[in-house]
Amino acid sequence: MGPVTVNIIMTSHRTADPDRDSGARAAPTTKAGEGITMPTRPEKVYYFGTCLIDLCYPQAGMAGIELLRREGIQVIYPQQQSCCGQPAYNSGFLEEARKVARKQLKAFPKDYPIVIPSGSCGGMLRHHYPKLFANQPEAAEAQRFAGRVFELTEFLVKVLDVRFEDRGQPIKVTWHSSCSALREMRVIEHSKSLLRQLQNVELIELQRERECCGFGGSFSVKQADLSSAMVADKVADIEQTGASLLLSGDCGCLMNIGGALKHRNSPIPAKHVAEFLLERTQ
C-alpha cells in the first residue's frame, strides 16, 4: 500500500455513506422540488413580481396579473416581497442571499400557489431555496415554499387550462428560451403552446434556441467581453428569422437581448410573453 492510499484512508469518512452499497442500477435522483404536483384551480394565488420586473418591466408584471385575474383568480401581491436572492446566491454571497430569501419565505405565509412571471427567479425559488436553506432552521419551510412555486405560463396551461382568442393583426414573432425556464423549470412547451393558440401569430424558431443569450446576472459585467460575444450571436440569430418581435418569459434575458438590439438600432423590440398574450387577447 502506498502513501496516497494512507492519505485517503486517513481522511476517509467511515460513517454511513448511502453510495457505498448502492447497486449499479440506482433510480435516477431527482432534483429538489421536482415531481411537484399541480394544484387544482385555486381561488387565490400569490404573485411574485421579481425585482427586475419591479424596477424595469412593471407593465410585464401587471400583464401577468391581468391574465390570472381574467380567469377569475384572485391575485394577492404581498408588498413585503423584494428579490429572490439569486444575484447574491450566484455571486458567492450566501449569507446575504439567505437574508433576502428569508424575507420572501415570510412574505408569502399562506398556503396559496405562488405564481411568478420568470423561469429564472422561479428556478431559484423552486430548486435552489431547498439547497440554500439545507442545514438551516428554515429547511422544512423552504421545501414547502418550493413546492408552491409555479412559472406563469406553466400555471396558465397546466392549472387554468386557458383558451385564447387572437384579436391582433398577423405578425411573425420569434422566441427566446431562458436557460432556467428550459432546463430548471422545464416550461418552454407551455409558453409556446400559449403562443400557438394565437391564430394570427406565426412563431419562427431560432436556429440555436437552446443556447444561452449570455446574460448570466453578474456574468454580463464580470465577463463583459464574453457576454457581449454571446448576445451578439443571439441577436444575429434573431435577425435572420425575419420576425418583427422577440418574445421571452424572462426579463433578465430580455434586458440583455433587448438592450443589445436597441444598442445596434435594430427595429425588433423585445417583449415579455405575458404582455404580448394580454395585448393580443383583449
Binding site: D21, V75, R210, D225, G259
Partner: protein, 479 residues
Amino acid sequence: MTQTTVDFPKNFKKALGDGQLRRNLRAAMDTLGLRRRTLFSDPEAFEQLRARGDAIRRRALSKLPELLEQLERKCTENGIQVHWAETPAEANQICLGIIQRHDATRIIKGKSMVSEEMHLNHFLAEHDIEALETDLGEYIIQLDHETPSHIIVPAIHKNRDQIARLFHEKIPNTPYTEVVEELNAIARKVLREKFFAGEVGVSGVNFAVAETGTLCLVENEGNGRMCTTAPPVHIAVMGLEKVVERLEDVPPLLRLLTGSATGQLITTYFNMITSPRKPGEKDGPKEVHLILLDNGRTKIWADPELRQTLKCIRCGTCLNHCPVYTRLGGHAYGYVYPGPIGSILTPQLEGLDHAGTMATASTFCGACEEVCPVKIPITDILRRLRAESYNKADSPNAVKGHGYKVNAAESLTWKGWALSNATPWVNALNAKLLGLLGPQLPKLPGPDIVKKWTQSRALPPFAAKSLHALVKEKGIADE
C-alpha cells in the same frame, strides 16, 4: 504545478477576436453535439443509462481507498508494477527512473490528459528524452508546439487548411494537400516509423478495474494499442479517481464515454491490459507499470460535494455543449483542463488564487449538466467555488486559495443589497431613485459596471413607477 497566474481577460479578448478560431470551434462543436444527439436519441433511455453511470462512479468513489488497495494487489498479482505519486513531480521522477533504467532516449505516447497535467513531455525533454505523440491530434499540436485545446480532440481548434499548411511546412518533403485521405496517409506514414523507434510506451487509462487489475484504454486510431504493445516497456499514468469496482461496471461507462465524446456506439479500439507478456507469449511489453497520481485528488475526495468532480470520465461533452468554451476554445483558459469540467477541477487542483477566475466564466446556463453522462452538479460546484473565493473558510475541506477575493468594497455592496432587499421601505426608495436617476447612470461616477453593460447593450429601461407602486394603485390585494 503550473503556478503561473493566467491573464484571463487578455486570453479571453484574444480568443473572442480570432474569427478563424471562432468559426473552427463552432463548426466542430456543432458536429460533435449533433453526433451525440443522434446516438442518444431517446431521452428516457439516456436518463436511465446515465443514472447507472452516476451510480457506478459514486459507488467507486465511496469505496476509493479499498478499491485502490485492491487494484494495487490485483495488478501486482498480474505482474503490473504499481507506483504511487502524490505530486506531478513525483510521477515524473518515477517515469524518468523507469525510462533511464532501460537506457531509453525516445518514448512514444498515446493520448493522456494526466501526462499533460504532469507536463511530462517538457520534463523529459529537460532530461534529453524525446517524447513522441502518436495520437493524430496530439501529433498535430506537437508539430505546432501547442498544448491540447480539448480533452478528447486536442487539435479541434485547427481546421483542415491549417493542418495542410502545417504538414507542408513541418514535415520534410511533404507536398501541400488539403485532401483528407492524403493528409491521413502522410500522418500514418510518419507515425508508423515512430512506433518502431519508441523504446518505452506511455499511455493514459480510461478505467482501471479493481476486481481484476485491468487497465482499460479507449481509442480510435490504434496508436494506443501500438504504444502499449510494441515497445518492451509500457508505463500507464492515471489519476487515482479512475478506478471502478467491477468488470461489469465498464460496459455502461464505456457506452456513456464514447457516446458523449464523439457520438460513437463504440470506438475502433478498446484495449484491456491485464499483464505484461507472459512466458511463451510472442508479443506485448515485458514490463508494465501503473503510476497512480494524486495531485490534490485526495483533498477533493474528502469533501462530499466537491468529490462529485471526481466522477468525471473525461468525455469532454461538457466542453462541446458549453457556450463559453465554444467561443474561447481551450487555450484561453490557460490550464490543462478547459471548459466546464476544467472550470470546476482546475481551481481545486491549482488553487482559487490562481484559477478562481475560471469559476466566473459561466452563465450557469446548465447546458453542461444536461449532457454530463455521470450527472456532475457542475453549476452547484461553480457556486461553491465562487462562495469560497469570497470566504476565508475554516473547514479543512475548503478549496485551496479560498478567500482570495475577500475585499471590503464588494462585501459592502452585497451587504447594502441585502439590507435594501430585506427592508421594504428602503427597497421602495431605491426603486424610486433608480426610476428617476437610472437614465443618468452613465454620467455618474462609480464602478465601471455601467460601462461594461453598455459596451454592447442599451441601459435597462428603469421604470418611473415600480410594480409595487402600480399594484397598489390598481388595488391588488396584499395579505
